[in-house]
Symmetry: C2
Subunit: 850 residues, 2 copies
């Protein structure tokens, strides 16, 4: 406040009714927007002058209410930022106390107790570990002995004497939450009565009495958190939560845990990849393909324009495929499924611990009561529109995918026809890479479109509360973006090549002839896993590079640059004035906080890349890890320096995101099962080795997977135009499928081997899915939701609390009888600390824990 | 108490140090036990006289503590039941209030509010439904208008003026919970210082002042609940909870919901069964078998003693099989999987509502904090022993199963060899039925053994808290009993007959020749589903009839009879004395409450029967329903009349049972998928119809499933001893399998059809499992955990509460300023009811719900 004593806790801004000559000043507000827009706005402002009056009236009414509640207000209309009025709000001490009581804040009391450390080896190990990890922890003063805790209890003004001194800081933190008083503010903001409402960043508070604890909280965060040079350290989550509130604290805690969990995943991924590299020379099938003696003539890969080719030319692809298609991949995808389960469990524990340690522990809110699910009652029409529109959009995704496929097929044919041999040789690579890049561009564009579309749909649905609006929006956006990101990948994994048709299995019986009469796109000889891997890496890396680094780093830098150039052009006094600005005026120029949804969304899609197709791309966790290390600091910088301080919102969990994560993890199990059994060559190899191989080795596998085709059986118009490309006429060519040879009774029918392999593939899916689900359940069951130390602490606190009150109770009775002076009362309470243990406090009371 | 004023809230009993001549009296205590035991006990009592002194000392110490806490005690050592001392405890009003504050009881305040009913058609329908259901509700006086509710708030002595009058009854209910004071009682009971601790049944309380509300609570329960004549009515859960506490209330609520949910399941089950009956004549395969023209000669069903047989003799079995093996079964098992999911969801809602409505709503306990999972830390050795022992026991189950199989095979052979044709004809039926009965008896015996064994194992493990002891015990008992009940059924479903071998699929590759060289037990021609059905119905019905009706009804009746005969023999004065007994003495003779575990266990095993193999026995839900209708009233009777009143225990959920239920429901999905695809003939029929049938009908299916065998290929010593039984020599016989005919290149090898059918079967399992799991998730997502009305009510209460306190707050400030008299204070608070709404109370405050 102007008096320099009271702290500005909260600021409301509003358009001022223009006094004479304020026009020029007002333009500064729109500094960043185009001047033309500013001008038109001014015009509108004039037109709605009547409205301005009404708004001023509603402001006064609202201010009156705030004063009634005990808040102290100060207006600042002659600020340096003209055209904008500031209403500064200060919450006095007693108002804060009242609120603390209302909210049933749990605050530490004077009473301390010691947490027993586990004894023996376990303790030594944990001490050792914490010493090793010491440099990884952020440095700041609060380093009190960890095993002494303050007992906390619901704050009550009548029992203030019990509360610990530090409490008083913590209540002052509440001041940020003055927002609670301004209950009606959302609607006022919506109707434009106020233009903005935000608490202040803490930078300039050093001189203030409240802040003896959070001296430079802001700068501390800047140094220890929003800084790339500390990327290897843990985040100071406690500080973040104190400063930004629990909701944002939870996001960063989640992101931190996710990044941490990615470390082992990337390590195992690298090992699996290296295993592939190391064994590439021992792989018998690719050796057979590459062997110069192998002289298998393959059938053309497309109608007319393609010609016969030698299998040995696929040598490179076959060897590269082995990098991603080896038995270690199976292990890795099981590992990653378990990893996802572990991650969920660890997050539950972390969340529980954070909830326990948090500053504003609200006793009253049992989580279960407030995780309201979406219901579908009496809103059927809106739901139906929604579902139809969503399906339409997913249809658009598929249509675009189909377009890309057509592009690929036609490009391939066109390039095959080209006369230049260099072009021909690079056909595969060119087509695949350009197609993947087109896909990426489409994904990036559609991402933005879908975001806007989901918002529009949700507005259409008009949910009742802000929370349900957010949940629905998130859900829709997620579905659309998910399909957008993963459709091309799913297509390559399952619907391309030989096994595509099996997903139309029953369909097949009906449309048998139609489907088999046209040729499906085929993968290269090494299997589709290789192509899947290319597509995945391009999409994932491209999305991360472009969306994060370009959009999140580049665009702000660009903006700064523009502003810098502008300010050079601009008048000198403008710069001068900037310096004189008060904190609340500086904050006014920062961008408002837009919610955590985009941050979470990005991470969940990344989580999808890491888990869903991990069987085909074991390096995905590594790339995700690298991205996230940057991401954390980037987001931190944004929150500390580039956004207005968000209103500290209460939250117990990450809400719908947890459910989405669970969903992704579940889908991942099934998709990985199918990738291993259908996309990779794992099962055919196994079946060959144990059922058909004459000597139990993999020798002869390549020959076994190739069927025979008599070139005289080509359909009219389908035969190749260049039958003599290899230099000799071809009678019998080979193709990759399990079909009867031309000389059998039923030529080109599906063979018994095919059905055998299919049965084994399906059995593998069942076994894999159920084993992984069972292991997930076991992990879920073995890792308790509440960390042991936390549950012990809770139990202990409860007993101590009962003890404390019992003593106080006895005191009171005693007082009542002796009618002693208050000082005696205090004395009594202190001296009674050593009274004999009360039966209630016995830990073996079976009903306390039940 | 003796003064007739104070109520006896709780009773502790102990052995009295024998004064002279009390010996004869003391025998009455052991009235029910054998006299010999009583005598030996008396002897022991003499020997441990020193201990008795020590016990008396500890009793005195304990009583002192109780008095310190404000309880009033009365000893009654000259009671009519000699040898037993009674310590009657009364909790005075102020002690109860203190406890209520401690426990943060939520009690209704004076403030009432109205719950808005939903408008329009919905309301009319719900009114109509509630009118129709009116006679189903139990009758008792409490019929206040449903839409007026009392606002409830944490009880606090300082705010007593706010609490509603009826509160005072509710606090008096607490008296039952005086148990909380007796924290150390468990250990005292364990060491025999006290022999029993129980609250009293409420029967004789009519004259007491506290009970104006619960007049005849006991008798009301007896009439409206523990009575077979009201079997069609809802249970008066509210009363049960008030009387017995929440834990038992939850059990009956759960049982009630389960029974209620069984009604639609039984209806659909009956319809499915009737559909089977109706279509039995349209079933082409069984028509073909029964057709007199069908002249297929089948191979012998066992080595040597069996002979060739005509397929048409299997006509009856084939027709009977159709009853349970028809397309409706597939629908029914999907239905039941969804039913199970719905049941879980409904239970969650019911539980939530009960938690909200319950009398002792503890604000503080967030469920999540107290559902501690079992952890496996630093107890590895005990765990290993446990696992090994459990596996051993499961091994015993398998061994017994194997014994039964051997019995069956040998009996079959023996009966086949018997000369009497009547015996021969009844071979199948005799063997199956006797085997099922043997299984049943084994199951019943092992059930008891396993119960004791699990307890022993858990004691060995020595868990820290009583709660974790209970959970571990339950878990172990469940695993053992579950395997015990379901092993024979699983054997019949999957490991018998043709498809048994496919579960050794990979195993097969290794032991190919070993496995196929000996003959597996085979099901009758109609498929194993029929036998599965017989086994299931015998086990389920037998278990229910014997365990419930015999043990639970019969044994108590028998005991009563014995007592009656005894009392006739006994002295007349004994009977006279019985009449004079005080309530606390009568209760002493009732059996102590032994926990709910056996009740839950029985129901969960039943739930297993209803869901796990429902594909094979659609009438299971009906039998379960019939059983449960009796079961509810039986249990109710037991609780009201035959057991001491249990200590009211607090509980928020049914604990580990819910997890077990979830587990059973999950396993059910997989088992049903396998039953449909492997045990029933559904898939082979489908495959035949759509892939092999020349005209798309089922004609020719029977012929298609039978392979050819050349009788000259019999192994040495395996050919039948009676080759001419049918009256003509047999060259080619048929058997049910998909194998190549003798004239193919690879005779008797598994044929392509086999692999096709297997692939389709496996694909069906995958599709079924994932579709059902997806539907379960959707059900879980569509049905909100909190009923809408409850969540609305909670929200409304919160707003009102804030309002109320705000007013009070303003009042206080006002008081402080004007220093008015207390009566003014009251006046102020009342008159201020109509103050303008507070900004906080606006429902659109986004942070209240977040």
């Amino acid at each position: 406040f102007q008096d320099g004593q009271r702290k500005v806790d909260y600021v409301l801004t509003y358009h001022m009714k223009k006094p004479g000559g304020s026009r020029s000043g007002r333009q500064s507000m729109y500094m960043l927007t185009e001047r033309a827009v500013a001008r038109s706005l001014r015009f509108l402002g004039d037109a709605f002058n009547g409205h301005e009056d009404q708004k001023a009236f509603r402001r006064e009414e609202f201010e009156g209410k705030l004063r009634d509640m005990g808040l102290e207000l100060e207006k600042d209309e002659d600020a340096n930022v003209s055209g904008v009025g500031f209403l500064k709000i200060h919450a006095p001490w007693n108002v804060l106390c009242r609120e603390a009581e209302f909210m049933k804040l749990k605050l530490p009391t004077k009473k301390v107790y010691e947490v027993k450390k586990s004894r023996g080896v376990v303790e030594k190990i944990s001490t050792l570990i914490s010493k090793i990890l010491e440099p990884l922890h952020p440095q700041f003063e609060e380093r009190q002995p960890k095993n002494i805790k303050h007992l906390s209890h619901t704050f009550s003004r009548e029992k203030q004497h019990l509360q610990e001194r530090r409490t008083f800081f913590k209540i002052s933190f509440l001041s940020v939450n003055v927002f609670f008083f301004c209950a009606g503010i959302t609607s006022l903001l919506g109707s434009g009565v106020y233009t903005a409402a935000y608490p202040l960043h803490d930078v300039s508070d050093k001189i203030q009495p409240h802040t003896y604890y959070n001296i430079c909280l802001d700068e501390l965060l800047y140094e220890e958190w929003a800084n790339y040079s500390v990327f290897y350290k843990y985040q100071p989550i406690g500080l973040v939560r104190k400063y930004f509130g629990e909701k944002i604290g939870l996001y960063f805690a989640w992101l931190g845990l996710y990044t941490q969990m990615l470390i082992p995943a990337s390590l195992v991924g690298i090992i699996v990849f290296l295993y592939g590299c190391a064994t590439v020379n021992d792989d018998i099938p690719s050796m057979e393909i590459c062997h110069p003696k192998t002289n298998i003539t393959m059938c053309p890969q497309c109608d007319q324009v393609c010609s016969y080719w030698k299998l040995s030319t696929a040598c490179g692809t076959a060897r590269a495929s082995h990098l991603f298609d080896n038995p270690a991949t199976v292990f890795f995808s099981i590992f990653m499924a378990l990893w996802a389960a572990m991650f969920m469990e660890h997050w539950k524990r972390r969340q529980m611990r954070l909830n326990y340690e948090r500053i504003l522990l609200l006793i009253k809110k049992a989580t279960t009561f407030y995780v309201e699910k979406l219901t579908c009652q009496d809103r059927l029409p809106a739901y139906m529109t929604n579902i139809v529109m969503m399906l339409l959009m997913i249809g658009v995704t598929f249509a675009i995918l189909f377009g890309v496929i057509l592009y690929r097929i036609s490009m391939k044919a066109a390039l095959h026809m080209s006369s230049s041999p260099i072009t021909r040789n690079n056909v595969q690579l060119t087509v695949k890479t350009t197609a993947a890049i087109i896909n990426l561009v489409v994904i990036l564009i559609l991402d933005e479109v879908y975001g806007a579309f989901a918002r529009w749909l949700t507005v259409l649905e008009a949910p009742k509360t802000e929370k349900s609006f957010e949940e629905r929006l998130i859900f829709k956006t997620f579905i659309l973006k998910f399909f957008n990101a993963f459709t091309p990948i799913i297509y390559i994994a399952f619907f391309r090549g030989r096994y595509g048709s099996f997903f139309f299995f029953f369909y097949n019986f009906l449309l048998y002839n139609i489907l088999f009469s046209y040729r499906m796109e085929e993968c290269a000889h090494g299997g589709c896993l290789m192509e899947l891997c290319i597509q995945l890496s391009i999409t994932m890396l491209g999305k991360q590079l472009i969306q994060n680094n370009l959009f999140e780093i580049g665009v702000p830098k660009l903006k700064k640059l523009i502003r810098y150039i502008r300010s050079k052009q601009g008048a000198f006094q403008e710069e001068e004035r900037q310096k004189k600005l008060q904190r609340y005026e500086i904050d006014h120029f920062l961008e408002p906080f837009g919610g955590l949804t985009p941050e979470y969304m990005e991470m969940i899609i990344q989580f999808g890349f890491v888990t869903l197709f991990v069987a085909s791309f074991p390096l995905a966790p590594l790339f995700a890890l690298l991205n996230n290390i940057i991401e954390i600091r980037l987001d931190a910088k944004k929150f500390v320096a580039e956004l207005r301080r968000p209103v500290a919102a209460r939250a117990q969990d990450i809400g719908i995101w947890y459910n989405i994560l669970r969903g992704v993890a579940k889908v991942a199990v099934i998709i990985n099962a199918f990738v291993i059994s259908f996309t990779s060559d794992f099962i055919p190899r196994m079946v060959y080795q144990y059922m058909y191989s004459p000597d139990g080795s993999m020798h002869g596998f390549v020959n076994h997977t190739l069927s025979y085709f008599n070139t005289s059986h080509f359909q009219e118009g389908k035969e190749t135009m260049d039958p003599l490309l290899l230099g000799y006429p071809v009678d019998i060519c080979r193709y990759k499928d399990y079909r009867e040879p031309p000389w059998s009774e039923t030529p080109y029918e599906i063979s018994k081997e095919f059905w055998t392999v299919l049965a084994v593939r399906l059995a593998f899916v069942i076994v894999f899915q159920n084993v992984v689900m069972l292991m997930n359940d076991i992990v879920d069951w073995l890792i308790p939701d509440i960390p042991k130390d936390t549950s012990l602490q809770i139990h202990k606190e409860k007993i101590l609390l009962v003890d404390l009150f019992m003593k106080e109770e006895q005191c009171k009775t005693y007082m009542h009888q002796s009618t002693a002076s208050p000082s005696d009362y205090d004395h009594c309470c202190r001296s009674k600390n050593s009274t004999a243990a009360h039966p209630r406090s016995r830990p073996n009371n079976p009903n306390i824990g039940s």
